[in-house]
């Protein structure tokens, strides 16, 4: 994606004298003092058209006098340009942006939760993932990776038989803190002040939530007066883990974020890292990546279709969708060796060459799938009950798309043609033809249609990839093993001395990345999955921020459901389609 162009940069410099504009091939970064921040951002939003809020995060520099730096990433939908705005949190505080962008509320809560930066003017500065009363800020550099062992959690044997000396088995007695029931109750009370008749809990485990999210609904009869979401039940501290791993080691962790579309996550991640390291990817690898990412997208959309229909009571669609899903799973398993968390991509290429016969299977799938899609359409699209449940439910206006930083099918359902595959083509997306379907009204039904059409478009892309891959010779390289930061494929490691030494060096010392900043994102089935990597050089990222599409898409849920019924909530949630592994990370 192009970054802020020179004309605007000069204009910004002339208006804001103390703005420090830096630009290189990877990004454009503008540093402004804290006092000018709100003024500067509202200027960018109103005058320069940077309306779409992409992400906000903090970076911890313990040796710097102000310590925390806030990083805002904004997007200009007209010019298709991005910019990074930075500011130092003087005195440990930053002004809140909730007046400018509503979704900044959640991003700021997350920064508060992880760094302890206080936001002035935030209406409800609560913890995002950790529970109320948790005393630490985990993403600070002085917080140890393994946590602070301070809580005694006895094993069941100990409870029953008493502690023995020596201990019955080898384990640490002291653990890092976990939330108690009282903590959770306090968290719940802090989130929602009861206004109406009864507060209904959905979750943390509930069949309608598709994972471990905790919804609170304040109900007046069937009507939802207000609602809130408690996240964090699946929070694993991915960003903290990433800071302590080599670049290639973090790749399998990305599978575990949005576990429905693992290959898409990997693709976003390796694209970002390759940008940082400057790795060229061979043509064959790019096409394999594109094909599998699109297969994964169909796979993910099928899961959404099945569960979404199941939520609305159409039980049969669920099993039909899973039948097709199974075929895709087979293709992925045959190539990557795993069904769900594949770890198939590598920095610089893919792990394996295409397995024999893959293209035939994919071609058979391409031939068969349109008929299946027709079946789904017959069951649902013109079904009057389906229409009644989905039409005019949860309408998202175009303005709200920018305001809440919505991306993916949720944004496109409201008529915003924001698709990273077009805006900033990665892998082979600039070499294949496809259309971006958009909705008109922005209700649940439009999002349904958009996703259904996306499956057709994905099929188109896969078809082109197959045609291209058939032409490429079998001996074409599938990984760019000449680059010093790319691990050679395993069969070379066992056969050639140089490759073995190189593999050994990377595994032990990691890739050495140049210092710099990269923000790169991929179009996931659940929206834009972005990786902001701040590298100080060396083999580990200094800070790796994961911009989760599902989290930002979910942030509009409490607003949309106000005034709806509890049955609307389930339809709406299905259409937003969050995956908790990605929202919580």
């Amino acid at each position: 994606m192009p970054w802020m162009n020179l004309v605007v940069r000069e204009r910004v410099k002339s208006i804001f004298k103390d703005a420090n504009v830096q630009s290189d091939s990877k990004s454009v970064r503008i540093e402004v003092p804290k006092a000018k921040l709100l003024e500067f951002l509202s200027y960018l939003r109103q005058k320069e058209g940077y309306r779409h809020f992409i992400d906000f995060t903090c970076i911890d520099f313990p040796e710097h006098p102000h310590r925390f730096q806030g990083v805002y990433i904004l997007y200009n939908p007209e010019e298709n340009e991005r910019v990074i705005v930075k500011t130092w949190a003087e005195g440990g505080t930053l002004p809140s942006l909730e007046k400018l962008w509503s979704c900044a509320r959640w991003a700021e809560r997350e920064a508060y939760d992880m760094f302890g930066v206080v936001f002035e003017g935030h209406e409800n500065l609560r913890r995002m993932f950790m529970w109320e009363g948790y005393p630490y800020f985990p993403l600070r550099k002085d917080f140890p990776l393994e946590g602070i062992p301070e809580m005694e959690l006895p094993s069941l044997t100990e409870v029953l038989e008493g502690r023995t000396e020596p201990p019955s088995h080898d384990y640490e007695i002291m653990h890092t803190k976990v939330a108690t029931l009282e903590d959770l109750e306090r968290t719940e009370k802090a989130r929602l002040k009861k206004k109406a008749q009864l507060v209904l809990n959905w979750g943390p485990l509930h069949p309608g939530t598709h994972g471990t999210i905790w919804f609170l609904f304040d109900l007046d009869g069937e009507k939802v007066v207000q609602s809130d979401i408690i996240l964090g039940q699946l929070h694993r501290g991915m960003e903290k883990i990433a800071e302590n791993l080599y670049y290639f080691q973090f790749l399998p962790y990305t599978d575990r974020m949005d576990y429905i579309s693992a290959i898409c996550n990997e693709l976003s991640y390796v694209t970002a890292v390759e940008k940082l390291l400057g790795v060229e990817v061979p043509e064959k690898a790019r096409y394999i990546r594109t094909m599998f990412a699109e297969l994964q997208r169909i796979n993910s959309h099928l899961l959404w279709l099945g569960t979404g229909a199941l939520d609305l009571g159409a039980l049969t669609v669920f099993l039909y969708a899973f039948r097709e899903r199974e075929k895709i799973m087979d293709i992925i398993e045959g190539n990557a060796g795993f069904r769900l968390t594949t770890a198939f991509l590598r920095i610089g290429g893919v792990h394996y060459d295409l397995a024999e016969g893959t293209l035939d299977v994919v071609k058979a799938f391409i031939k068969d799938f349109p008929n299946r899609l027709k079946e789904y359409h017959q069951l649902l699209t013109r079904n009057r009950i389906w229409l009644r449940r989905t039409k005019d439910v949860g309408v998202i206006s175009k303005e709200d798309v920018f305001n809440y930083g919505l991306t993916g099918p949720v944004a496109r359902g409201s008529g915003v043609p924001y698709d990273i595959r077009k805006a900033e083509p990665y892998a082979a997306y600039d070499e294949v033809e496809f259309d971006v379907p958009v909705g008109e009204v922005g209700d649940v039904y439009d999002r349904y249609l958009v996703r259904m059409e996306e499956m057709v478009q994905s099929l188109r892309i896969i078809e082109q990839c197959v045609a291209k891959l058939e032409k490429l010779p079998r001996s074409a390289p599938y990984i760019n093993k000449d680059h010093p930061a790319v691990m050679p494929p395993k069969e070379d490691v066992f056969m050639a001395l140089e490759d073995m030494v190189k593999s050994f060096r990377i595994v032990v010392h990691g890739e050495s990345a140049p210092p710099g900043e990269v923000y790169s994102s991929g179009e996931n089935p659940r929206g834009e999955l972005g990786f902001y990597i701040y590298s100080k050089g060396g083999s580990r990222p200094y800070r790796l921020r994961i911009r989760s599409g599902a989290l930002y898409n979910l942030s509009i849920f409490p607003k949309l459901i106000e005034g709806g019924t509890i049955a609307d909530a389930i339809a709406l949630l299905g259409s937003i389609d969050p995956v908790v592994g990605e929202t919580d990370r």
Binding site: D311, G313, A314, L319, I385, I566, D568
Partner: protein
């Protein structure tokens, strides 16, 4: 005195027969439904227990009966148990006024294959149908759970709306037959030679709607809505206490209402004599199960309505149609 004893014994035998047959059928309907659902959904359904999975209902029954049943700590215990009785009893009592065949005489005694041929049979049916809502409400209230409570409230809203339409849709048939006795209605259809579905197609469709709503089948299964309410009003019941609810609502109620539809609109046991003395019963069961099949088919195909939509459809669309239908029938009857 002897007469009385004999009639009592006969009635007792009839009651036992009905209980045995329909509880058994209810259990085997689970097998049928699972098999049907399996084939609709491109899978096999139960097939491991016994030939074609035929022993599956027995296995399920044993499982349900031997399960530990957990009662919520703050449950209202008497009402909690009463709810089970109140949901099962009305759906069983529905069968008591359904005639399965013509009169027959055994050893000189004339026997009607109906438990009690009363002349207010239809009113009795409505009474029992309305009573069933108490089972739902009590179970939702007594189990002290928000999900169950919301589910039972939804169900009672639906029941109230559809009882009214049920009454009006049947009224046309009553006008035509001139009696409220179920036996009388069937005999009137046989005498005139035309099933009432021909005279009352609108009423039949309305009746089907009500049948789905009363028995809580898709697309009206809002009281269950497993995605929102985690199966709703029966969420706090376990073991056979839980098993009773689907049995009563999904199976016995569907069968009873299908049988009623057969009696009212499809000429009861009438049909060509193909199997000698068993022919009427075979016809009755065939018609009944084709309706049951229709309900199951819908269940595994359609999505579900919202609570507010269901009541809206009932009061705003179905009720005016039903009223119009009754008035038209009355006017036509008066003129002819």
């Amino acid at each position: 005195m002897v007469e009385l004893w004999i009639s009592l014994v006969i009635t007792f035998i009839k009651v036992l027969l009905i209980l045995g047959i329909f509880l058994g059928l209810g259990a085997y309907l689970t097998w049928f439904e699972r098999k049907l659902a399996g084939h609709i959904q491109a899978r096999m359904g139960p097939k491991l227990v016994g030939p074609f999975g035929l022993l599956q209902p027995l296995a399920d029954g044993i499982k349900l009966l031997t399960k530990e049943s957990i009662i919520p700590r703050n449950a209202d215990k008497p009402v909690y148990y009463l709810a089970i009785v109140l949901s099962l009893a009305p759906s069983l009592l529905l069968f008591s006024v359904i005639p399965f065949g013509p009169r027959l005489s055994i050893f000189g005694y004339e026997i009607k294959p109906i438990v009690s041929d009363v002349n207010i049979a239809l009113i009795f049916l409505f009474a029992m149908g309305s009573l069933a809502v108490y089972g739902t409400i009590f179970s939702g209230w007594a189990s002290n759970s928000k999900y169950a409570f919301i589910g039972s409230l939804r169900k009672s809203a639906v029941m109230i709306a559809y009882e009214v339409i049920l009454g009006f849709s049947v009224l046309g048939v009553v006008l035509l037959a001139g009696t409220m006795s179920t036996v009388g209605i069937v005999e009137a259809q046989i005498k005139s030679g035309i099933w009432y579905i021909v005279y009352q197609p609108v009423a039949f469709v309305l009746f089907l709607f009500c049948m789905l709503a009363e028995s809580g089948r898709v697309p009206f299964d809002i009281q269950e809505a497993e995605a929102e309410l985690v199966t709703g009003y029966n969420v706090e019941y376990g073991g056979m206490r839980f098993g009773v609810f689907p049995l009563a609502e999904w199976y016995l109620n569907v069968m009873a209402l299908s049988a009623l539809a057969v009696v009212l609109f499809l000429g009861g046991w009438s049909g060509p004599n193909i199997l000698g003395p068993f022919s009427p019963y075979v016809w009755f069961v065939l018609k009944m199960f084709s309706l049951v099949f229709f309900v199951l088919w819908l269940h595994w195909t359609l999505p579900r309505f919202q609570a507010k939509d269901i009541t809206e459809i009932a009061w705003k669309i179905l009720l005016p149609i039903a009223l119009l239908n009754v008035v038209m029938t009355a006017v036509v009857l008066y003129l002819v």
